[in-house]
């Protein structure tokens, strides 16, 4: 029977390195993707993801399962991401408006291409659509962005997300509504097409 995250973490606490490897394998991709969608820089996202795992590892002896493991892990990740975004924004403000600046934000990298081989045109269209989505998410205020990413892509429960973002469930639901409303407007060309097809 598969062990739960809490069981694995308790085993890490007891000194079992293999259990830490299992947690790493399980959450490496979700964490990197969450952080990439928050900061839009793959190098920074990977660095932050490693920092999350490092902090989990450092805290192993004090670990007490008072909340879900994912709540704890994504809380660390969200805080690191928000700090990174704010640090980056501060650096951007110091740069002259006249200069063309490489912000470090990438075009969508390392896509996991499905098995069927798409045509070049299809791939370009897909990339373009993905870019639009990533940019639209990135334009959201940080807390709305984190709320949408945790709700939509990590499928955390409302109470978990509220704990991560340190707000009430009621405030979280308002946050999500406003975020999806903004995305609905930003992605209107894509949403309209999808809506018409339905």
């Amino acid at each position: 029977m598969a062990r739960t995250d809490v069981q694995l973490m308790l085993e890490v606490k007891a000194g079992d390195e293999q259990s830490f490897e299992l947690l790493l394998r399980k959450y490496r991709i979700p964490l990197v993707n969450f952080l990439y969608r928050m900061v839009r820089d793959t190098a920074v996202a990977e660095d932050l993801a490693q920092e999350v795992f490092l902090r989990v590892y450092r805290a192993r002896e004090q670990y007490a399962p008072s909340a879900k493991f994912t709540t704890w892990m994504f809380r660390i990740a969200t805080n690191l991401a928000l700090n990174s975004v704010r640090d980056n924004r501060h650096r951007q403000m110091e740069i002259s408006m006249d200069q063309s600046v490489d912000t470090g934000e990438d075009e969508l990298p390392g896509l996991e291409v499905p098995d069927r081989t798409p045509s070049v045109e299809q791939e370009l269209v897909a990339r373009s659509r993905s870019e639009m989505i990533v940019k639209a998410i990135h334009r959201l205020p940080e807390k709305q962005r984190a709320a949408v990413l945790l709700h939509k892509y990590q499928e955390l429960d409302y109470d978990e997300i509220a704990r991560v973002l340190e707000c009430s469930e009621s405030a979280l639901k308002s946050l999500l509504f406003r975020a999806y409303e903004s995305l609905r407007v930003e992605l209107a060309p894509l949403v309209g097409n999808r809506s018409a097809r339905a």
Partner: protein
């Protein structure tokens, strides 16, 4: 969103229930309220459809893969973490540990050691005097006899201070008897 009058207020009231409803997590009462509103409000009904379409669009966002060096890099960072040390390992050497322990023990011993006091009988007598207990003649004698011999007791016991003063008349035997009554 219709923003006029009561319709606007009802639309605003639906906001918090909207996401839960679309997630399929609304309570039966909330689900009923939202469905009743959607049936009556065209703009909110359109919004609900577009929210569903948006969810499908967001599903199109592909995942990125961590770099091939991610795991190795993380393991290197973990390996670079300082090793956990026990309490005694914080001391640089066993000799220093022994010295520190000895110093601690001595400090405790010195701070709780007895003060220097006169002979035990004097101390006992002094305590009894402080407590105001009635001293017996023997006890009084004991107090005096234990004092350091600055004076010769044998001399003192026979000493009549008045008789030693120059020019002082020695009282007669009758007068001395009266004094002792």
């Amino acid at each position: 969103m219709s923003a006029t009058g009561n319709g606007g207020k009802q639309c605003a009231a639906m906001e918090k229930k909207f996401v839960e409803y679309l997630d399929g997590r609304a309570t039966p009462a909330d689900r009923h309220a939202v469905e009743a509103h959607l049936a009556a409000c065209a703009s909110c009904n359109l919004r609900a459809e577009e929210f569903r379409a948006l969810s499908s669009v967001l599903d199109d966002l592909p995942e990125i893969a961590p770099s091939v060096s991610f795991d190795a890099s993380l393991r290197a960072r973990i390996a670079a973490e300082p090793a956990r040390r026990g309490f005694w390992e914080w001391l640089p050497s066993p000799r220093l540990a022994f010295a520190a322990t000895a110093l601690l023990v001595m400090s405790v011993w010195l701070s709780s050691g007895p003060r220097s006091v006169p002979g035990p009988s004097i101390a006992k007598h002094a305590v009894e005097a402080v407590q105001g207990s009635k001293l017996s003649a023997d006890l009084e004698f004991g107090m005096i006899s234990d004092l350091p011999e600055l004076e010769n007791f044998d001399v003192i016991s026979k000493f009549d201070a008045l008789s030693e003063l120059p020019g002082a008349a020695r009282p007669s035997a009758v007068e001395r008897t009266k004094e002792t009554r």
